[in-house]
């Protein structure tokens, strides 16, 4: 069952239904499907949620997933992981579900379209200044753009834009290239080898979801923790001064 042809680079080009200027293409349809699956599973898991000793299987599953995500985030930010779990966890779960469901025949991953990945990367692009400003205030956030001096302002801006582009193209390129490789292999060696490549594709999909989430967390953490590093520097300087004084007091009499 082939929905997106081998000579079509994006599932946006396959239009299922159109009425006037409203068009429904494959990307939007399968994005809705993935959203419905995620919402349904979450509803199923949290339907009769309990803090007793015996919890349901679904609740166990969801607790394991959430605690892994929280653990990863708190390792990177060192504290208040709960603020970032909703955004990063949603990004990870959505991309991971999209990439893993590829093994279902007839499913086209929404992440193999550049529009989906671009919108996900735009979410990160907006989330970085949001968390930065809400943590450090507008002035301190903008001050980071002029470090170490004002000449670096255009480079900081270019860095912001180019890393958003890199997030977009990385996810899109990986998933799209894998689909094309499977399509070409089906034409060349039909029976067994594509299965092996699809198993590899599951690994690639999960790793790419992980990398997307980790990279967006790195970007947000760099905007948030810039101010704290300053405090750390001050603390370290004070410590060194104290040590200096201590050594002077202790060893001056020797000299």
């Amino acid at each position: 069952m082939e929905i997106v042809g081998i000579n079509q680079i994006s599932p946006d080009q396959v239009i299922i239904w159109s009425y006037g200027f409203i068009t429904l293409n494959v990307t939007i349809l399968y994005t809705w499907l993935v959203m419905a699956i995620l919402v349904f599973v979450s509803w199923l898991a949290t339907r009769n949620i309990s803090s007793e000793m015996n919890v349901s299987r679904w609740q166990h599953f969801l607790e394991v997933v959430i605690s892994i995500i929280r653990g990863e985030i708190s390792e990177m930010t060192k504290k208040d992981a709960d603020k970032y779990v909703p955004l990063i966890g949603t990004l990870f779960l959505f991309i991971c579900t999209c990439n893993v469901l590829v093994i279902v025949p007839g499913f086209v991953a929404p992440t193999s379209s550049i529009t989906t990945t671009a919108s996900l990367a735009l979410c990160v692009f907006i989330a970085v200044p949001y968390y930065g400003i809400s943590r450090n205030g507008l002035f301190h956030y903008l001050k980071e753009y002029f470090q170490p001096n004002f000449i670096f302002f255009p480079f900081h801006v270019m860095g912001e834009i180019s890393r958003t582009l890199a997030l977009t193209v990385r996810l899109f390129g990986n998933i799209m290239s894998h689909e094309k490789v499977i399509g070409i292999l089906l034409a060349v060696t039909p029976l067994l080898f594509p299965v092996v490549m699809q198993a590899l594709g599951l690994l690639i999909g999960v790793i790419q979801a992980y990398i997307f989430a980790i990279l967006s967390m790195v970007y947000i953490a760099s905007a948030v923790s810039a101010e704290e590093e300053h405090h750390v520097h001050v603390e370290v300087k004070q410590k060194i001064l104290q040590l200096n004084n201590f050594f002077k007091e202790e060893f001056l009499w020797i000299i």
Binding site: N7, Q8, I9, E72, E75, M76, A166, V169, R170, F172, G173, N174, M176, S177, K180, I207, Y210, I211, I214, L215, V218
Partner: protein, 91 residues
């Protein structure tokens, strides 16, 4: 040879050359990164989590360069802008 076949020939040639040359650098870079990371993990197994995460992030950064080349070669083959232009101009 007319314009269309020249464009087709140049596109196929350029696409192959793009991915061939473009994957050499990232491959060498990823090899070096993994080599260093394995050495570091062997020396300090306690820091494995942090090292693995940093390795994955770094590999993603390096790999994206190869992915750029791949996307460009796909655009040249499947969504070539000059192709459509000359087909329209030729009628």
């Amino acid at each position: 040879m007319d314009n269309l076949s020249i464009i087709a020939m140049a596109s196929i040639f350029a696409a192959g050359l793009t991915i061939a040359i473009g994957s050499v650098g990232p491959a060498l870079g990823m090899g070096r990164a993994i080599q260093q990371a394995l050495a570091a993990i062997a020396q300090q197994p306690d820091e494995r989590n942090s090292l693995t995460r940093t390795l994955f992030v770094g590999l993603a950064m390096i790999e994206s360069i190869a992915i750029y080349c791949f996307v460009i070669s796909m655009i040249v083959i499947f969504a070539n802008p000059f192709w459509g232009h000359f087909i329209k101009a030729g009628g």
